[in-house]
């Protein structure tokens, strides 16, 4: 959609560009962009809190077996004896006890704490990998389009348009629903995770691609690129040595902000039953199970809050990062 429009006289994509030219005029000298960003980030308590929660969540995901070993039990372990067989809910209402810190699930009595902890693994793994995929494809194609321009740009831009016109969620559900349980030499969780990473990552790259393309277009006109070109540097050299380093800041910001979107996406697919297969715990899947027992909000609370806190933490941190790298937006 951007291609046929031409803005005369001004650069409308000013916001990300500001990331590059640091703090104007206030005479903070002699510090690199990274240092300035870190200085600003340090002062942003909310963003730091977000960052800490993110680190905490990553640790929880990585050390899930240890945490669960100490405070929970196998997340797929049934505790049928704690369940009222007529109403299918825990005999004590929520099932919270010393053994089950967050209580137990209805029907099968699985430990909610352990499932929430293990759920972080799937959620973060898919969100990170999908983001990585989007960033890699988006950066490669975005830089290529922006740098070479002309027909290449035209083809890539139109491809992005086509991708953006797809009803993404419908498509993701359809694809995740019809891919069989063993394909491409993969099975089980590995296949499902790969599949979800592919679906989420592959359909999101145009968002990164557009930003990178716009940045590249404006960077291409800068002096240092001209200088490199006049010294006889070739396309790949300019892309990797001159352009990419200058694109890192905006890519980092948008990648950080894409992660929470992907967390929500994965949760939505799991909620709709096309995510990772049970009994592997996922937050979306837990929520879907809990909905049947909505009269006891307890079951919804933990997976719902897990999604909320994770997304919020990434958003807070991403916002802080953007503000730190782009003082104009403050």
């Amino acid at each position: 959609m951007t291609a046929p429009m031409d803005v005369t006289g001004g650069d409308t994509e000013a916001a990300p560009e500001a990331v590059v030219d640091a703090s104007g005029g206030k005479a903070i000298q002699g510090r690199s962009l990274g240092q300035i960003a870190w200085m600003r980030l340090k002062r942003d308590k909310v963003a730091l809190a977000g960052g800490l929660i993110v680190i905490f969540l990553i640790l929880v995901a990585v050390f899930a077996p240890v945490i669960v070993g100490l405070l929970g039990q196998d997340p797929t372990q049934f505790n049928s004896d704690l369940i009222d067989s007529s109403t299918m809910v825990p005999k004590t209402g929520t099932g919270i006890s010393v053994d089950h810190l967050f209580g137990i699930e209805p029907v099968n009595g699985r430990d909610i704490f352990s499932r929430v902890v293990y759920g972080a693994r799937i959620s973060l793994l898919i969100a990170f990998l999908a983001t990585l995929l989007s960033v890699v494809i988006g950066t490669l194609l975005g830089v290529t389009a922006g740098f070479f321009g002309g027909l290449v740009d035209s083809i890539i831009s139109k491809t992005m348009d086509v991708f953006l016109a797809f009803p993404l969620l419908v498509f993701a559900i359809a694809l995740a629903g019809i891919v069989p349980d063993s394909a491409f030499g993969l099975t089980g969780d590995t296949l499902r995770v790969s599949l979800l990473v592919f679906i989420i990552g592959f359909f999101n790259w145009p968002y990164i691609g557009r930003i990178v393309r716009g940045q590249t277009l404006s960077l291409r006109e800068r002096e240092f690129v001209d200088a490199a070109r006049s010294l006889g540097a070739r396309g790949p050299y300019i892309i990797f040595r001159e352009l990419l380093p200058n694109l890192i800041a905006p890519i980092l910001v948008y990648a950080t902000l894409l992660i929470p979107t992907n967390v929500l996406f994965e949760a939505a697919l799991s909620f709709l039953g096309v995510g990772v297969r049970p009994p592997t715990p996922t937050w979306g899947g837990m929520l879907a199970d809990a909905v049947r027992f909505y009269t006891i909000p307890h079951f919804m609370f933990f997976p719902g809050m897990a999604i909320f806190i994770t997304v919020l933490a990434f958003n807070l941190f991403g916002d802080g990062l953007r503000d730190a790298l782009d003082p104009k937006a403050r």
């Binding site: 409308t12 016109a165 997304v311 403050r330």
Partner: protein, 339 residues
């Protein structure tokens, strides 16, 4: 201008064609890669107790034995030129655009889509009105009172808003305001009342999904508007406007908002376009019989003509919204020239 629109329309058609080809290919190929044969595909559309011979007849009838290109061609031809529709006792003309007829109910898809459209339209437009008003107002106020308690509170709520999955807020809203509630606000599910039938009931049935959906978007728009306003209000021309002696209200509304809302217009167009193609999660959560629910049901039943129809209509809205946004942009921003 006219040539531009024509060019864009041609591109829109090309894009929709590509979308349809990819959709078709995926739904055609993936099951076959998973080991399906024409007969096994047909078997699901003739009931569970049909004989092998009946399955074979159905497979032929549904065209499963033709190559992909022929099947796609038939589909595309139906949209452009209409198709003949065999409903059993006779053959009927299914006029263009004919999206074929459901494998499962044997009814044409297009009237179904037309039937679902008002629901999604009502949901999307009603929510859009709320979220634009609420989001923009909050964003402007926040920007003008940057750092104030209001700003912090509003931005906190907004951030929470964009961080909550709609299927969670939706259910919570149903639990609190609807299920088993003596004065329940909404009657979720299947209770869509067309606007022209009873405007009050129409609004009554939609108010909860509207608010939930609008909350999600309003949060995003408040953040966008705030950022846009902050950026615009630091523009030189705002300083000029103040130097001219304009009062602050006029500076904000006429000069600030005008600049800040232009990029939001683009995002709004795209959001609305996407939403008109079906608010999948919202419609599922509230059991609203709109395009999104239709899409999910179609996918569940592997009803290819329905999936194709709803995908294309959704893509059409996105492409169309893009075109409208670009045209509007040219109207709003005199610097933009279309060419």
């Amino acid at each position: 201008m006219v040539t531009y629109i024509i060019r864009r329309l041609i591109w829109a058609v090309v894009m929709l064609t590509i979308v349809s080809i990819i959709t078709f290919a995926i739904f055609f190929l993936v099951p076959r890669l998973a080991g399906a044969t024409s007969e096994s595909l047909a078997a699901r559309y003739v009931g569970r107790t049909a004989s092998a011979e009946q399955v074979k007849i159905a497979a032929d009838k549904l065209g499963f034995n033709d190559p992909l290109i022929v099947q796609y061609g038939r589909f595309a031809k139906g949209i452009v030129a209409g198709a003949d529709y065999d409903y059993g006792p006779g053959v009927e003309r299914c006029p263009a655009p004919c999206f074929g007829y459901s494998f499962l109910t044997r009814l044409p898809v297009w009237p179904d889509l037309l039937d679902r459209l008002p629901v999604t339209l009502s949901l999307a437009i009603g929510a859009a009105v709320i979220w634009v008003l609420a989001g923009v107002a909050t964003g402007v106020l926040s920007a003008l009172r940057r750092g104030s308690l209001f700003d912090r509170a509003a931005m906190g709520v907004a951030l929470a808003g964009v961080s909550l999955p709609i299927f969670f807020t939706g259910i919570v809203s149903l639990v609190i305001f609807s299920y088993g509630h003596p004065f329940r606000i909404t009657a979720p599910g299947g209770s869509f009342t067309p606007f022209d039938e009873n405007p009050a009931m129409w609004a009554y049935n939609l108010i909860l999904p509207w608010i939930t959906l609008a909350f999600l978007y309003a949060a995003g728009y408040a953040r966008l508007t705030r950022a846009g306003m902050l950026e615009t209000m630091s523009e030189d021309y705002i300083r000029t406007a103040r130097a001219k002696g304009l009062n602050e209200r006029r500076v904000v509304v006429k000069h600030g908002l005008r600049g800040a809302l232009t990029p939001i217009l683009t995002i709004f167009g795209l959001d609305l376009g996407l939403l008109l193609g079906g608010a999948v999660l919202t419609e599922s959560t509230y059991s609203l019989p709109g395009m999104g629910k239709y899409a999910i049901d179609a996918i569940t039943n592997q009803d290819l003509p329905k999936v194709m129809g709803v995908t294309l209509v959704a893509a059409f809205f996105v492409v169309f919204a893009n075109l409208i946004v670009d045209l509007l942009y040219a109207v709003v921003d005199p610097r933009v020239r279309l060419g």
